[in-house]
Symmetry: D2
Subunit: 301 residues, 4 copies
């Protein structure tokens, strides 16, 4: 049985907020900080204890979770004057953010120099997954540390151990998100062709999902947010684009060509160019609708 513990948590946004809640519901004490006062207040309302800086958290908790937007944010929280590095009690930083493998390695080195462990542990599964505790948690750190953290990480979802080196969790997440983005893009192309030829998009998905063409877009995103014309799967094309860019950068650095991945990236860039900064991931399908001059919607029966 896991005893009740005290944890730090920095970054209380769409993902961090519900994750803090899950720790609280499990009976833990959570010391929180976010530069956004509103986010901080919400966590306090949920039962967390506010601290006034990352340093304050690090002075009081041995294990601290991060759920921050990107690499520069993580770097700042670690290395700023009132950052984690100077903390009196912090021994281990568990980073749940998606920041790419290089930023993870850099964070690990900065913390390691002070004897603080860095756990690379991005998650996938969206806000719903964070609330329900059904995220996929992809963790990279030395095995003994992983075994120690597993009980608390299980509050967030299903655990996958990716290996010892920092960055492996990030790489896993980029690979997954590349596949996810590719599915959206190629499915948009195939569906627009079929619809233009006169097929019923709803029937097309039925056939595809019964056969060898199925993927996460045909199974979930298209039925939910394209056939319905809502285009609101809730993941920004801009973010998908960033993930694919990080993936291609990593891939190029590793010497692995991505001919198809590069085309996927450009489709996301075009989607952003045409539909603007707030474009949804599924707006790629809208782009194909426009190009093809044909809706990819459920036919009225």
């Amino acid at each position: 049985m896991m005893s009740k513990q005290t944890f730090g948590f920095i970054g209380l946004g769409n993902m961090g907020g519900p994750m803090v809640k899950r720790l609280l519901h499990a009976g833990h004490t959570v010391l929180v900080f976010d530069r956004d006062a509103a986010a901080l207040a919400r966590a306090v309302a949920d039962g967390a204890q506010a601290r006034s800086s990352a340093l304050d958290v690090a002075d009081a908790a041995a294990t601290i979770f991060l759920s921050l937007p990107d690499g520069p944010a993580v770097q700042h929280v670690i290395s700023a004057q009132d950052g984690l590095l100077q903390g009196k009690r912090v021994k281990c930083v568990v980073d749940l953010s998606t920041i790419g493998p290089r930023a993870a390695v850099a964070a690990s080195q900065a913390l390691g120099a002070r004897g603080i462990a860095y756990v690379d542990s991005p998650v996938s599964g969206g806000i719903g997954g964070a609330e329900r505790g059904t995220l996929a948690v992809m963790t990279a750190c030395p095995q003994p540390l992983y075994d120690e953290l597993a009980p608390v990480l299980k509050n967030f979802g299903r655990l996958f151990y990716m290996g010892a080196g920092p960055g492996l969790g990030q790489t896993m997440k980029l690979a997954n998100n590349l596949l996810s983005a590719a599915a959206v893009a190629i499915t948009s192309e195939a569906m627009a062709m079929g619809a233009k030829a006169g097929l019923d998009p709803g029937v097309m998905l039925e056939v595809i999902n019964a056969g060898s063409g199925r993927n996460s877009a045909t199974m979930e995103k298209f039925p939910k947010a394209v056939l319905t014309g809502t285009f609101n799967i809730g993941f920004a094309a801009r973010l998908a684009c960033k993930d694919v860019r990080l993936c291609l950068e990593e891939s190029e650095a590793l010497g692995v060509p991505m001919v198809v991945g590069a085309a996927v990236r450009e489709m996301l860039v075009v989607t952003n160019a045409v539909y603007g900064k707030d474009a949804d991931y599924t707006d790629v399908a809208r782009l194909l609708e426009t190009w093809g001059g044909v809706p990819i919607r459920q036919h009225v029966k």
Copy 2:
């Protein structure tokens, strides 16, 4: 209840052979022809009755199935001197071949001019599906004719009605196969990147299949034919390449761009260029292994 009937069947290869068997097992009489004497002999051994030409079949059966390699073969079987067009009894030709929408329209016109119905009905599901009667059957023809044919088509697998016009079945199949090929290509890229970074390919697939990256390649082809190093999924890269080419041609003719599809095609062309005419579909993964200098295999535990 469906009464026992007499059918014609032309093209007794990998797919046609087992499909004839299923008709025979259902109690029907099947008159068969194939230019390959061995294929013909096998069907006779299974209980079918040999005829000496397409014309002979068309003189004796009202409904004739085709399972031929490509558009030119279908055109030949229809229009040659001893072809179907001159047949005394033929009323309906059910084409189970993959030939692309344009060839289907041409076949429909040639037959229609003689008052013979053409049913565009490609299948998907491989040899195993043909043997077990679990194919996806994508049929396009006027609805009453479809209703009439449905009982016999059910011998082959699950039925999907695609609409009245010839070519819609073909378009559906090309869309499905594009998605299938895209899954193989992008998964090869993502897996090579992960493997090169140090992830265990088996664990990668586990994570992907639990998340938003999953597709038919991560769920079936990679566990079966890549992690094992066998590269023998049993579908030729050359045929996948042909399907994607037909798909892009159709798409261009319809005015639907396929930026990602075009990249998928080239990956298949490169695979054929590097691994030759007999390359398996999954050899795309082998190509990425070579480029990345890293195996995408199950780690020994």
Copy 3:
């Protein structure tokens, strides 16, 4: 000195019309046919003698030029009931049309079976080149025949001997046109980026043309039809798209991957999807202007 001769000429359109004129000006007798009565009348006004079918031309002239829109047109003029094949005097057909290597081989076989030589000789240089006699003429046929034809071909422009086999002229033309289309597409991308960053597009071209970035688009098409905002280079995106498609088909058949060529094709397909059937070749640049939200025009000084 070349003696005056009698030639046949079929296809009197944008290219054929001016080429007939050049033969007439050189003092030759030209027997002409076109299914378009107006085109025929124009040639007669120029001094040519009208014939009422391809067969009529082939009954009266030993050497016949073709300038027809595509492969099917060439096939029809050769093999129709009133086609060249039955002609009493025809010995040699010089095909100036762009039809792709496979159509050229087919034409050569059909004519060869009757002892008629086929000369694969597409041209490049546009209507202006046809009028001024400055086309590039890419001829494939046996060398002795080439030597015999060279004096009359020189009326059209500069001669290049591509080899003996039919199709080599076509392949040469497809390769050239792929490079031309690629230049338009990549230049559009580079110019849009520069313009968006704040560079003067006119200055950009100056720098590029002084350096290693220059190509036929930066040297001619962009100064003439993009910086000016006219987008009227006079070659349809649709035709460029067709050439690139033929090129990719040929390339795939030969086993030569075209990763960049495939991307070029899709940019042309998108351009047609967005700007319609009459889109100019240079509308690719207009597409990038729209995507980037930035004009690629000469800055007012």
Copy 4:
């Protein structure tokens, strides 16, 4: 007439070495530094005066040129403890390196905070151009400063004024290099197709260079380093790849899609994957030779 002046110069490699020589030949005094002692010695042998750090140079010269490998090197020379920022006399830093627009903006800000002007001035034209003083020099800085510097910059080659803001010179250079790389890649594809079909690569280039397909690769690189089989144009595929990556990053940041550019990048990544770190730019052609199974070499006459 320009009076003789004293300049600083840091980075004395392939490009910096010959540029220092040109300043010396023009009669100027040049104070130099390079962390590579051999490079420093060579410059001294040419007549320059060695200094022992960037700071030493900045204590003695008002205008300092940089010719360094990349952004991090420039950042280090500026901001290190013995860097330019602390220099007593330095008023203006002219950066001849290729570092991308973002690094240029960062350098400009760092120097600007100390009242030192940053001139973004990358060059193109290779080592030969540096020696002969025929580089293209793409300069971005306020106009009055440009007018002041023009006389000394003319020692290096032909001047182009790109605008006031730092980064515009870099963007110009990335655009040019993208076009240059695209030319190499697409020409490799077109030439391999032609060669496989049986065309003589030498004749192909002749035709292309007379027509609309010509670009810097068909005009210079292929005759020199591909037809000859030497593959030694002297620019590393790795560097071309880096330039295209910087270009795509910039382009994505600006919101300008690069569908063709992305394909070009991947061809360079594949080239590096197959031919290793020292691959020449023209090895892209070698890759196509291997894929197509056909040499792209001058036929022996």
